[in-house]
């Protein structure tokens, strides 16, 4: 057997070692930077069925890119062909070289450059050779086809179904060039070898054959392998410093996530891992409505992640609406919103608050507490509708924040003021519990989310009013008549995507209107979100206008939402009447309706269209 070595492999080996050492160091840091609670999660996870689930997820996400596929098949194909194709080339190369050498522990370069060492029937069991050559050519073709998509995407992103593509940094561009060259270089090198030896399958064989017609390939064999090795080496040298770091990082993220680790202030390394797992695929660009209204401003999560990864201050981080659209679109599952929230520094606003509204609320025993939310005080239509619904249902209820002097704490949290938020939470928790109520209904999705996720209220259910109304309808505690109108539903971010409340609003709306509304959790942001602290009002308006246009393409009679802030945001930008789900319900309540008819000449709730 020939010596399985040639100096050109040293280039590759050096580059690959850089990536390897970096990766081992990183994995160590990621694990070492976890809180002890998270570390024990990992420890227990390794010895559980979660390990297998993680393995399966790694294959389906890191190799096949199932989620990208389901979002965008063309983009999915591109990712899949590159990742899966490359992986198969490595795997089969390894099998082939092991098959022939019988040595499992040979240096990596042997299998990478196997075609160089074994151009043709030199080794025993040569009969298998054409089979291997065929399979290898097949996967090489797969990768090359993916590469074609990648090149098209870079220059004409719309052709692969993306409106925008990530703007690259110089080092990323360098690595990208190397990546693009890897497979053509491999094709040329292999074809040269096959040409010189008259071997190879349909791709390398044919090309080699053509080469040998034009010139004598033998003297070019070694230079082309040198080139291939050089390109590979450059790519691996650059990998740790570019977005391609996601290739080894993503599986680590998948495993730790499966073990139950989540982004938190206690485990900063997990944030770092999340950032490294971001592939800069750019799917979040199109998900973000700010791409439309603030073109050129790099607010979106891929830029945010990159800046943080590079240790820079993320640009425009206070513009982000924290709407969560990018987070739910991200195929890697990077925990974008929690990471963003942790990046907002706590300046100490709101600490040590003595809210006057918290005094004197105790000892009021009722079954239901109604917490309108501070914003709802600016949309009194919602409050008066809820009053009517409560009264009609015969419930014993208490209007907790009738004086409008309370706050749930979530706005503080969205602005990064975590400490003050938790102080507020503790106070309010006590007050809620002291009322003895079994049910807390709120009209504000922002309040609902924090009550639901973070408040500890043993023995008390927390419902958003859309859920409460849906229950009342189901139990026949209230009855509504059909309006005979059509409606579109705007899902408030905090309610739909944020809290997963999708079924109930759909039920209520379908019982009122003849539109088949099925909330999906993929709703648009109205632009009013309290997350976008720095957003100027004109930009908010532009987001709102865009969202309203999309929501009302079918010219519904009314636009229904379930959030005072969304309602306030939409009202000035659309000519279609905007109503809260509670208002619509109250308006079509049957029997003993105490609401006066407001206006004639109206279709809905007395709101004529832009009179």
């Amino acid at each position: 057997m020939e010596k399985l070595f040639d100096p050109f492999v040293l280039l590759f080996t050096a580059g690959f070692s850089v990536t390897g050492i970096w990766f081992i160091y990183k994995v160590y840091r990621w694990l070492a930077g976890l809180s002890s609670a998270d570390r024990s999660l990992v420890f227990h996870g390794v010895f559980s069925a979660r390990l297998w689930k993680a393995l399966i997820e790694t294959i389906s996400e890191s190799l096949i890119h199932r989620k990208v596929f389901s979002r965008n098949p063309r983009l999915g194909y591109m990712h899949m062909s590159l990742a899966f194709g490359w992986f198969m080339l490595i795997l089969i190369g390894n099998i082939e070289s092991t098959w022939y050498t019988g040595d499992l522990f040979k240096p990596i370069y042997v299998s990478v450059f196997w075609r160089f060492f074994d151009p043709g029937p030199a080794f025993p069991r040569a009969a298998w050779q054409p089979g291997f050559a065929f399979i290898m050519d097949l996967f090489l073709l797969l990768v090359l086809s993916g590469l074609l998509f990648a090149i098209v995407k870079r220059f004409r992103s719309r052709l692969v179904g993306l409106k925008r593509t990530t703007r690259q940094q110089p080092v990323d561009r360098l690595a990208l060039t190397a990546l693009w060259l890897i497979f053509p270089a491999r094709l040329i090198a292999e074809s040269m070898t096959c040409g010189a030896h008259g071997t190879g399958s349909f791709l390398t064989g044919t090309l080699g054959h053509l080469f040998s017609f034009a010139f004598s390939p033998s003297p070019l064999v070694l230079p082309t392998w040198w080139f291939y090795s050089f390109i590979l080496s450059s790519f691996f040298f650059l990998l740790p410093f570019t977005r391609y770091a996601h290739i080894p990082s993503e599986p680590v993220l998948i495993f730790l996530r499966r073990f139950g680790v989540r982004v938190s202030i206690e485990s900063p390394s997990f944030t770092d891992l999340n950032l490294h797992a971001c592939s800069s695929c750019g799917i979040c660009l199109d998900a973000c409505q700010l791409s439309e209204v603030m073109p050129g401003k790099q607010v979106q999560s891929n830029y945010f992640n990159r800046a943080l990864r590079n240790g820079a201050n993320p640009p425009h981080q206070w513009d982000c609406l924290l709407c969560g659209r990018c987070g739910s679109a991200c195929p890697v599952g990077v925990e974008l919103i929690p990471i963003r929230q942790l990046q907002r520094p706590d300046t100490g606003i709101g600490r040590g608050l003595q809210l006057p509204g918290l005094v004197g609320k105790n000892g009021h025993k009722v079954t239901i507490l109604y917490f309108a939310g501070c914003m709802t005080h600016l949309t009194p239509g919602i409050i008066s509708s809820m009053r009517k619904i409560f009264d009609q249902s015969g419930a014993s209820w208490h209007f907790f924040d009738a004086d409008g002097q309370n706050c749930c704490g979530r706005p503080l949290k969205l602005a990064g003021q975590t400490q003050a938020a938790s102080e507020l939470k503790k106070k309010l928790e006590q007050d809620f519990l002291r009322s003895g109520a079994g049910l807390l209904v709120t009209s504000c999705p922002i309040c609902f989310r924090i009550f639901n996720e973070e408040y500890r209220l043993p023995g008390m259910r927390v419902l958003h009013h859309s859920q409460y109304i849906s229950e009342l309808l189901e139990w026949k505690r209230i009855k509504v008549g059909p309006s005979g109108l059509s409606a579109a539903y705007h899902e408030p971010c905090e309610l739909g995507r944020g809290s997963g409340i999708l079924v109930e609003p759909g039920l209520v709306i379908r019982s009122l209107f003849h539109s088949d509304v099925t909330p999906s959790g993929e709703g648009l942001c109205c632009g009013g979100s309290l997350g976008g602290v720095a957003l100027e009002p004109e930009v908010r308006k532009a987001v709102a206008r865009g969202a309203a246009e999309q929501l009302t393409v079918n010219h519904p009679d009314v636009l229904i939402t379930a959030c005072p802030l969304c309602k306030k945001t939409f009202k000035p930008v659309t000519s279609i009447p905007v109503q809260d789900i509670a208002e619509a319900t109250a308006h079509y309540l049957i029997a003993g309706s105490s609401m006066p008819e407001r206006r004639k000449s109206t279709k809905v709730l007395g709101y004529e269209i832009n009179k």
């Binding site: 100490g348 606003i349 706050c407 602290v533």
Partner: protein, 103 residues
């Protein structure tokens, strides 16, 4: 008493604008331009759950008003001049921290 807004408040409550130093206000206005558009109508204070509001920022130094802000954003929704109040509050707080040692 010298305020962080650069005014000088005498014991008799008179504001001495001759000694005014607008650096602080100008720096904040670079970030939140709309700050200067405040017409001191008081709507923000009226709607504020804690009775503070942004108006207290635009006149003379009144730091306690800021520290109890809930960031609820109601003032943002009622301000007739469309001032980005929450951003303003955050920015002023950031500047305070910066100036905390310097001034």
């Amino acid at each position: 008493m010298k305020t962080k807004f650069g005014f000088d408040i005498h014991d008799n409550r008179q504001i001495d604008l001759d000694l005014e130093d607008t650096r602080f206000a100008d720096e904040v206005a670079v970030v939140v331009k709309s700050w200067k558009a405040c017409m001191k109508c008081g709507a923000c204070v009226g709607t504020c759950p804690v009775g503070k509001g942004v108006l207290n920022l635009t006149g003379i130094n009144y730091q306690p008003a800021l520290t109890t802000c809930l960031m609820c954003g109601k003032c943002l929704l009622v301000c007739p001049r469309g001032i980005n109040t929450r951003h303003l509050i955050l920015e002023v707080m950031n500047k305070y921290r910066e100036y905390g040692k310097a001034v």
